[in-house]
């Protein structure tokens, strides 16, 4: 993808999600502090930062999992700061979890169907009385789930227990579950964790395909090789604050980022003089 297009999208203002002054405190700890950033539509945005930088907390904030203590979140022009988690999902944002959290004892299809729950309304009474709504919703869930499974390439495995899938397959099930809610924005929390290199590659392909299909993807990831080759746009957090934002190439040259990751030589003690400045700008 040409970089020009990306920056055009970025500057065109078609931002899908915007956070303003977002912050959260746990006790005395400011886990995320005053972050203002936006996520452009139709792109892959990566949120990176060293261990403990507050990436997951940030993720939990935008997905409505945590309630921020300051700032606001605007999604598709709508303020979603105070929405409950399931309402955030209903507004068009779905997420996966860091570890492969799916329903292992259920079938692949059922997992995906659970993801579609937010689009259905049939309740307990519908279930007991087997109303028309129940039957319609059930059929709709099934269809939506199959569509989602097709998108992640698991349609053939629909009947298998999800726990019997490979690690990568389980990741895909998780993504299908998220896709079944017809999101505009897909949040992936460390999609490549616990996966071997080949699996990682195939996952990257899937993510690209999804974005090509019109989805916006935001991910938190530690595997930098993956981030650098996959992301269109990178947001760097450190100590809960945004320290850099931009294209991968820009970000990876940003001294602030390098210092955040590798440490400043000044703090390395008196022995660290040799490589000063060399590495970051090489």
């Amino acid at each position: 993808m040409p970089e020009v297009v990306q920056s055009e999208v970025l500057h065109s203002g078609s931002e899908l999600l915007r956070v303003e002054g977002l912050g959260i405190r746990f006790g005395g700890l400011h886990a995320v502090k005053d972050v203002t950033a936006s996520i452009p539509a139709g792109q892959i945005t990566a949120i990176i930062g060293p261990n403990g930088a507050g990436k997951s907390t940030f993720f939990n904030l935008i997905s409505g999992f945590y309630k921020p203590t300051s700032g606001r979140i605007v999604f598709q022009g709508q303020d979603i700061t105070r929405l409950k988690t399931h309402e955030v999902v209903a507004s068009g944002m779905a997420r996966t979890f860091q570890t492969t959290t799916i329903y292992k004892e259920l079938s692949v299809l059922e997992n995906a169907m659970i993801g579609h729950r937010v689009r259905t309304r049939a309740g307990l009474l519908d279930a007991l009385l087997r109303t028309g709504r129940e039957r319609r919703d059930e059929q709709e869930s099934r269809d939506a789930a199959m569509t989602a499974l097709t998108r992640v390439g698991l349609a053939a495995h629909a009947a298998r227990p999800a726990g019997a899938m490979t690690q990568e397959g389980q990741k895909r099930v998780g993504i299908a579950m998220a896709l079944a809610s017809n999101p505009k924005l897909l949040l992936l929390d460390e999609p490549a964790a616990g996966m071997n290199p080949e699996e990682t590659v195939s996952l990257m392909t899937l993510i690209r395909e999804l974005v090509a299909g019109g989805l916006t993807v935001t991910l938190v990831e530690h595997k930098m090789s993956l981030v650098m080759s996959l992301a269109d746009h990178i947001l760097v957090l450190h100590h809960g604050q945004k320290i850099s934002e931009g294209l991968p190439a820009q970000v990876s040259r940003d001294p602030a980022v390098i210092e955040a990751y590798l440490g400043s030589h000044a703090h390395g003690g008196q022995m660290g003089q040799t490589a000063t400045g060399a590495a970051p700008h090489a």
Binding site: T101, R117, V118, A127, M146
Partner: protein, 342 residues
Amino acid sequence: MLGNAGTKSAGAGRFKLGTWGWVAVFVLAALVPLFGPSGYLLDIGVNIMIYAMLAYGMNVLLGYTGQLPLAHAGFFGIGAYTVGILTLKAGWSFWLAWPAAVALCAVLGLLLGLVAFRTKGDAFSIFTLGVGVIIMLVINKWDALTGGNEGLNGINPPAGLEVLSKGVGLKLSAGFYYLALIALILTVLAVARARGSVFGRSLIAIRGGEDLARSAGIDVFTHKLRAMMLSTAIAGFAGGVYAVYVGFLGSASAGPAMTFTVLLYLLAGGLGTLAGPLIGPALLYTLTQSLKGLQDYQYIVFGPLLVLLIMFAPQGLAGLWMKAQARRELAAVTGKKGAERA
């Protein structure tokens, strides 16, 4: 598309087998009174069915939603006493009092849920245990309404049941047996429908992990509340049968001991399965009945048996069966794959 077809046929096949299995079980059960069994045998049957209903109610919360409620017998008691009080003191017909009791239990379950679901895990269980104890104590102390320690005595069989039974040439005890059987069938049907629905799938999702369910877009709190209502309503439903069947109510039937008995039966049968809540009571109730002959030794045998059961077959009998079946299926699948590859 291929996958879709595959799923459907597999799912439908399992469903069919299951449904026919249940039909067979209930038809067999319905035939029992026709062979003129002893009152004792029928009594065991009725007791098992009442316990099974309770276990189904508990299974909705524990087995499907993953919340351990320990006030279950309290709602059983509320259902039973509602029927008892309405028929004895207000002169209602059982057929009116019974649905009223179920509705009351559902409403009270909603109220309990509103408070109790602020807590999670152990705290939820213990909170509900406290509520259960309070329900029992209130029943025990509120003499004017419940008869207190003396209990409620002389609750009559449902209007028409005796006439009906006599009419088809059966004893009243057989009439009660059919009443319980119909109630049980309704319970199983309700639970099966709830489980197999969009709603029920969401409960399973909550059991699998509340955070995950929330992220999948499920309104966890509301779903838990509904599950609680279904669970307590079923407990009240069972309580109604119990009230007219035994004809006497004492507060002990609403106490924690009863809850733990049901929990035990449910665990033995298999949590989260449709057959477990029936298998558990059938097995363990019969076992306790046969151990009764041991008198002083009954709990000396029963206690360790319980420990062994939970240590070595914690998934219950239905669970064991399903596990074996899953293994067979898996073996079949992999075997086929191997063949294809070869």
